[in-house]
Symmetry: D2
Subunit: 337 residues, 4 copies
Amino acid sequence: MKKYVLKAGSTSLESLVIIECDEPKVKPGEVLIRVHACSLNFRDQAVVTGNYFGGVLTEDTVPLSDGAGEVVAVGDGVTEFKAGDRVAGLFFQNWHDGPPNPAAGAALGASGCNGMLAEYVALPERGVVKIADSLSYEEAATLPCAGVTAWNALMCGRNPIKVGDCVCVLGTGGVSMLALGIAHAAGAHVVVTSSSDEKLERAKKLGASGFVNYRNTPQWGPEAAAASNKGGADVVVEVGGAGTLAQSMQAVNFNGEIALIGVLTRDGDTTPHPLMMKGSSIRGIFVGNKTMARDLAAAIDVNGMKPAVDKVFPFKEAAEAYRYQTRGAFGKVVIRV
Amino acid sequence: MKKYVLKAGSTSLESLVIIECDEPKVKPGEVLIRVHACSLNFRDQAVVTGNYFGGVLTEDTVPLSDGAGEVVAVGDGVTEFKAGDRVAGLFFQNWHDGPPNPAAGAALGASGCNGMLAEYVALPERGVVKIADSLSYEEAATLPCAGVTAWNALMCGRNPIKVGDCVCVLGTGGVSMLALGIAHAAGAHVVVTSSSDEKLERAKKLGASGFVNYRNTPQWGPEAAAASNKGGADVVVEVGGAGTLAQSMQAVNFNGEIALIGVLTRDGDTTPHPLMMKGSSIRGIFVGNKTMARDLAAAIDVNGMKPAVDKVFPFKEAAEAYRYQTRGAFGKVVIRV
Amino acid sequence: MKKYVLKAGSTSLESLVIIECDEPKVKPGEVLIRVHACSLNFRDQAVVTGNYFGGVLTEDTVPLSDGAGEVVAVGDGVTEFKAGDRVAGLFFQNWHDGPPNPAAGAALGASGCNGMLAEYVALPERGVVKIADSLSYEEAATLPCAGVTAWNALMCGRNPIKVGDCVCVLGTGGVSMLALGIAHAAGAHVVVTSSSDEKLERAKKLGASGFVNYRNTPQWGPEAAAASNKGGADVVVEVGGAGTLAQSMQAVNFNGEIALIGVLTRDGDTTPHPLMMKGSSIRGIFVGNKTMARDLAAAIDVNGMKPAVDKVFPFKEAAEAYRYQTRGAFGKVVIRV
Amino acid sequence: MKKYVLKAGSTSLESLVIIECDEPKVKPGEVLIRVHACSLNFRDQAVVTGNYFGGVLTEDTVPLSDGAGEVVAVGDGVTEFKAGDRVAGLFFQNWHDGPPNPAAGAALGASGCNGMLAEYVALPERGVVKIADSLSYEEAATLPCAGVTAWNALMCGRNPIKVGDCVCVLGTGGVSMLALGIAHAAGAHVVVTSSSDEKLERAKKLGASGFVNYRNTPQWGPEAAAASNKGGADVVVEVGGAGTLAQSMQAVNFNGEIALIGVLTRDGDTTPHPLMMKGSSIRGIFVGNKTMARDLAAAIDVNGMKPAVDKVFPFKEAAEAYRYQTRGAFGKVVIRV
């Protein structure tokens, strides 16, 4: 079998190499998966450059948290899966249910935990989840990090979104377009921001109903609040980080929540005092748990949502997929394995 | 102006009479409404027959809790409304927000509180709410009792429904069809029961995706659970009462809730022990508050839901509307005023 | 080592025998516990008489779900425990967190799953939890079933009890006295019912502040509501079942919840219509999960609560402990192992 | 009667004058209160100096939001109160129940809304609440702003505190000591920070069980987390503002919440990225609603909590009370009227 590894000490894509190795043997409690597709997240770029949690990789590591495939064998004691099941790995291998906690365990595809960019992967049963019946492997591979993050942001906060609420998503990247899909299926009014009218138009086709071009309106917060048709967005999916937070605090409604996902920008006015008058919150989001992954799959099957896949690359062009993503994709970038 | 009254001591529709009277004068804090449409609920039948809470009417009373119209004048101190606003009355005149409480106040159209079946009605500001922009008066008139009840049942329990959940509605009456509309807009999978395949077909057009004919399957609970595509319905909208509760306890999912609305049937096995194994609940529902009415209107405007109106009667045929409803309408029966 | 078994087909205590056997070998993922104390629940009586779920035992089974002891060895891969840890088994061996679900797994001490009445017991790591530092083994052994049930009833419903709320507990048995302890520590006003003024007096010493003697007042519901000093109890810990439910529906407050735990009585008026006017709920409770067990231990350590232990029996008098419990203990009956 | 007014344009205490005037006439819907005690909050200092919301006062204004007294008359239509009732005014005159919203109305004692520092005050019925039976007027006067704020912070967030949780309060001012009292009564472990070991000792007498002297440990966040005896505080009562937020983010637990109350400091590192790894939140708090005031009173009556009153000043020494508070009180500063 073939797999990619990022070499220890990696600071650029030159460290990404494809190697030949034996198939993993399935141990007790494990599930062996023939991976069919993987997807990229921005954290995967940070792993490449040595800027992810923990710094540069200290050993050769298979990259990517997100992959979907077919179970080909199960170890002793496995009860949840059988050969033939369509599954994905979980971002956190040991966070089954309940709130965030320090025992969530390793995150796939980063220091100390091999990821999914391989033809075969063996994972503990608890770190695997069935994918939605209605999705292809390419589509399902977009969800373990970005989809679960979007679900957590919208559905697991102080006030899970309900039909008629307003959601504001920042930009048209992977998490934002998945959040748009979920929020639209949930009967919410979705306001999208972008620097491109053409991307806003594509978001409209996915169900967005409010639009702000932040190139035209750099102080876009009040405009997003106006586009909410109420006092502001009940949830703001904040993928930008410090640089956009001040505008998000303008965009959020009374009693609303800013789901803080992104660290794309590090500088900006982060004074949280605007939250006080409105009784609003900022909640930190770090992907999510197995129950969220299951609930997302159920929501997809009931509603026929399709993740926005920007482009699919063949296995041998994995490096090109990384480069393509850095140029700003609409939705997700996928690698077929 | 004209209005209907049910005579004190009413036990049948023969006590329903139309009379001519002066328009009400708007007092401080009040809103004067030109009513354009009313709708009927089963409780209105019980008021006619003297079987509603408190027994037979002790004084002549304008019937019907549900009516929508246009504000034509406001009294001193009114700040929330102005002439021209499109509004409806609230079922409970004094339940603004928060949980059920003993101070909810009088219910329109029953003992001690005149209702909406009149050309002009004056209500306290707090007992009035704006209707959805996207609805006609006939459509909006279906919501104050049945729509708010459905919203409360689905959205205000232990686990408000979320995208991908399953809702089971019993029959195709007013509350059930409104619950279907809300649940479908919220991205839920909706299972409908009926004694008529033709009505199931009509429910399918409104978004239902699971179907049980309880004439064919009197023990319909397990079949409804099977139609949920998961362990059972996350919310069962129980409009039947004691006679259907045992089946509802079969239909409900682990951790699910039976929203107990109906008292149509009084006999049946109500032993709640089946709730224990599943950790499920029965929650009593008695319409809802002003915030629920507002949230429902917002959900309608965002999603373009249309209440199912079975038939509209002219003002002078109000008694015929009552009779029509007792024969089993699909959705709501409306009187144009 | 010694252990008790209930013989297959047991319908009485005559089937309870003590036998000599080898210590269990700890397998990968397992924890070996030297049990120091066990406690009895009413369900254990039902197991003896063949009336528990699944009927009479189909094979010889070690009884009792509740036991606490010291870890003496751990198998490969165990990370949560080490030798010397003070632990208890969990009632449900596979319900870690989150809501009730069908995968909770076997319940200790019933058909198909050996229990804790043995000197040594090996359990999977996931089915074990640390006990409160401030409790003895005898005290900690009272919690896995009755304590977690009480916690679930009070803290995991629609409105977890908060400081200043009112809780009503029925009688002075194990679950009720543990619920009293938790509710009192949580700053709630606790109303206790009993047929004995002497037991009410003992409950007062444990923190109860409202009292109803149901022998004097068989229709005790309204009296319990009056003793709440508000509209009724926010949570009623309903250990009686069908025979007491009608009174519990009188005792419960607007928006309150009846935590349905008991099946001691099977006959009675269970019509749930009184829930409707008050917007109240009945929620089925079936013990609880590992997170609840942990939260309970934390609450005990912070507040110095002590479970009410009625009497401690030596290991060789286990049968006598069963008999003693059936005569109506105040709090819990314990067996030292 | 006598009352104090702050003159329009006030920037210092020299603008605080006492004047003689007629008693207010009670209007329909109003309650006339003979005020017996008032208390001070830091926002009242900001009103004096012209630094509160809206800047300097544009007209003469009776100061102070917090006052308690006896109802001496009620206007037409008032149903909730009668002469002789012991009551307090609400900070927000029009926020009855439910989440924060833009219609909360005027805040007593600031621009456009006369406050409580007067012998007689007339308020709308909806802006008044009964005080706890077990408190004196002096004690009850400490609650409308600081007590309701503390209640909101602890009990109305994403995870209302429960028995066994950990709460961290910053310093020993009014809100912090009221939060300590509530949290202790609720069975929480309370960690207090102070620059003074003597104040920490006084907090211990009020129920605190963890202590951090931030003069000794300027980077006190990790020490507060250690003093939690778990991963951190489940709620941090953040009265400091921007200057302390970075430490609060160290002190807060996984899934915990920082209740953001204070704006005492404006400079500091407010980057919220530390929230992400822990899934924690910052929630803005702006006092609270009438239901919170009622719940607080109930909690006080059930548990016998006593607000920490630092010093009581006579009516004629109101200016001295202001000055005393700025020097750093332990708990609340009260003016007897």
